[in-house]
Symmetry: C2
């Protein structure tokens, strides 16, 4: 019972109001209109005016495979970003063909190798932020970060994919040690895994671990986006007690030295300060 959407309706509906309510149904009708609108006009669409870009359901396992391959082509940040954007581009074309996904190369190794934000999170974050408004991107990307800190990587499924040679690039097919980072930081995530697995950070096994992790992050981003646009997304991450316990004083009694929104586990870096608790 879908009727064609007019240009005026599209321009109105492709803003954040699309995201807020009955997003799944709207996305399905908006997407063909988006393609038709730009092709019929014969002029480049001003992307900024139509942001957030339209979205329709993606295939999680397709994106997982794309991300694993793209990791080896351009690193973790490119891997996650390219997997999501190329999947949307292959299905819907414009406007997704307009973004050179290579722009996220720089995010590799926690951003140009500095070990800060995990590139898979950074790349997935940028892709999520292309299709959701500011408020919802913050909600979904924040949930992705929380999930990342609490889950073991690589996932059992990605280990199984490698063992069964399901990934397009078959670099290493043995199962890899699973570790929980407790942090969205590349340095912590990689170092914890190296300590747990015994592999060097420069080893091909570590690279394969990050390829599988990138595929896990991109796949989870698909799950969340599919849920969000179907109206069934629920954020479940709860800031750990170790953080909320610190913030109880450090934003009130000692207000000057901590950001209240920080959710990284305090003890990972501030072990020496925990003596005053005991």
């Amino acid at each position: 019972m879908k009727r064609p959407i007019s240009r005026k309706e599209f321009l109105t509906s492709s803003t954040k109001t699309v995201v807020a309510a009955s997003a799944g149904a709207l996305a399905a009708s908006v997407l063909p209109a988006m393609g038709g609108q730009s092709l019929k006009a014969g002029l480049p669409t001003t992307a900024a005016s139509t942001w957030p870009w339209p979205y329709a359901t993606l295939d999680r396992e397709d994106v997982r495979k794309r991300a694993h391959k793209a990791y080896y082509e351009g690193g973790c940040c490119y891997g996650a970003f390219h997997a999501l954007i190329s999947a949307l581009a292959d299905t819907h074309g414009d406007p997704y063909t307009r973004v050179p996904t290579q722009m996220m190369y720089y995010g590799e190794g926690g951003a140009v190798g500095w070990g800060t934000l995990c590139g898979a999170l950074n790349g997935a974050g940028a892709a999520i932020a292309l299709v959701t408004d500011r408020t919802n991107a913050r909600l979904i990307v924040g949930e992705l970060f929380g999930w990342y800190t609490e889950n073991p990587f690589p996932s059992t499924l990605s280990n199984d994919y490698a063992a069964a040679h399901v990934f397009p690039l078959n670099k290493y097919d043995k199962p890899l040690q699973q570790t929980v980072s407790g942090s969205p930081l590349c340095h912590v995530s990689v170092s914890n895994w190296c300590t747990g697995s015994g592999f060097n950070a420069t080893s091909p096994e570590r690279a394969e671990r990050c390829a599988r992790l990138t595929s896990d992050v991109a796949a989870h981003a698909v799950d969340m986006l599919n849920d969000f646009f179907a109206g069934r997304f629920r954020a479940s991450f709860v800031t750990p007690d170790s953080v909320t316990g610190c913030m109880g004083c450090h934003t009130a009694v000692h207000p000057g030295n901590v950001q209240p929104s920080v959710k990284m586990d305090c003890q990972q870096c501030h072990k020496e300060n925990f003596q005053h608790l005991y």
Copy 2:
């Protein structure tokens, strides 16, 4: 003595070879060809095929003002990214109008408020990576990170701009305490400044500090890009002794638990481990 560039020459020259040699002169001739090519064809250019996007000299102080304003409109990451991309879009139009700069909202506060990578660095990094190939983006963005860790923010110039009401948005005109973060992490950068200045992380003074810092980062990115495309960029950041000293053992004797490329100051998080050095 410039001659018109053909479509074939453009498609060839707009790759990394443009960046590698005599980039300044080429950029000046490539940019008009880029606009003409897409408008004459009447079809959306496939952005991915022409990456890196063409660049020509930007006005550092114009970008500094844009970034300060954009910070208040969309946070630090959007602020730096939007300043650079909107300056290129205003001068050259397509392809820069194709990127919805709102896609970088998510990077605010160290990425959705988690305090990881400083959003100004993340946004500037994405913009740099749109106009330079992977190798050079890594070089330039890495230098930006290094510069950030060693310089006091906000800069004296940004403090002076605020005092003289030069910024388009005049939120707070007093000079702000200058602190050196020693880290590209938002949490460290903000917390050090809050400790040094005595202002709370939720205060308007802290927001203004980050607005000025965002303007400083975007302006420095312009300096580096202008230098790079004029063939005079030289990386000068040297990894601190505190890091190289640790890495001497931690990538050789204890290879399993540290990424060799990490340049963040080890002592900021690993104070308790430094007892074995003394």
